[in-house]
Subunit: 191 residues, 2 copies
């Protein structure tokens, strides 16, 4: 809970009274490796703060998985299009390691916005950050060759490269695992 | 200016005093057909409200233009990754018709957030909307065949199909103009 409050305080000021409001708004969820926070056909009911662990967000296109992003310690994640409208989604959010989350529901978040002085400001700044990182990745996907997209992966997730299985990295870069091996070999020779 | 204030009021409450604050924060810009609000190498200095006209947002990839979105009357537009960080961009925002904009700079927007009671709430709700429409389009781009992407264009811009030249629609759908003609012919026969 301390990490969550410190993360919120990196965006906005919280009075001591407001800090007391926050713990009751969040619940703890534990996921084992391979378990899901969100599956196709479900509604993304929460925004989650990662206390511990690693998750990936992906789409299944007729059997081919496309990985959109990874989330690890002290980051927020959700699938906003489903969360914000509380409608059914075809996406997956899956734990890649034993994971502990602090989650807040849509109604509890509205409560946070109403009761915390700078709550709306937090919401604005947090979604700006989510939006910027989504656009950056998608720009890269549209315009960069695979080697540059892999470099963008390394820049975005410098601490996670050892923790994420190679085939998920390949799925994020949008190439086959064999092509990723070739790129990694080329990069290793350069350095 | 009335349309701008009414649009803001569709998101949040504004007191009569707050309504008075808004006009001095915005400046009017006029663009002729083909003129640019943003060009490669520039910084997106403003968020613009379209009073009148039509614009398109695009990227130039080695001579091949990829159209990201269109904006018309009573919509906000910007290139947020450049605007929010005030850094150089490689994108273009171009008027497709004689266009009138009301624009607000980054500093003036911070002023709006500080002086309007529900200003931060407006910022959060507006960027949530921008984010949702970007994700919807990109999802479609990743997973849908061209005919479905064209349908998504029609759903997103039902009133603009007569105003946007065919080659820009093709560039948005991600296909050649000839392929778009074939899709339109097939759809016409269905109806």
């Amino acid at each position: 809970m301390e990490a969550l409050i410190n993360t919120i305080k990196s965006f906005i000021r919280l009075s001591p009274e407001e800090e007391q409001l926050i713990p009751p708004l969040f619940s703890e969820i534990k996921l084992g490796t391979g378990e899901y926070l969100l599956e196709e056909g479900g509604i993304c009911r929460v925004i989650a703060f990662v206390s511990e662990g690693l998750l990936r967000f992906y789409t299944n296109n007729d059997g081919e998985e496309k990985t959109g992003f990874f989330s690890s310690e002290h980051e927020f994640l959700s699938y906003y299009p489903s969360f914000l409208t509380q409608t059914v989604s075809d996406k997956y959010i899956q734990a890649l390691e034993p994971t502990k989350l602090l989650v807040i529901t849509y109604d509890q978040l509205q409560d946070f916005y109403a009761r915390v002085q700078e709550g709306e400001r937090f919401g604005r700044l947090a979604i700006e950050q989510v939006y910027l990182s989504a656009i950056k990745q998608l720009d890269s996907f549209y315009t960069d060759p695979p080697e540059k997209r892999y470099q963008q992966f390394l820049d975005s997730y410098p601490k996670l490269v050892q923790r994420i299985p190679q085939y998920y990295i390949a799925s994020y870069v949008g190439i086959k695992p064999q092509s990723l091996s070739r790129i990694r070999n080329r990069l290793a020779k350069k350095h």
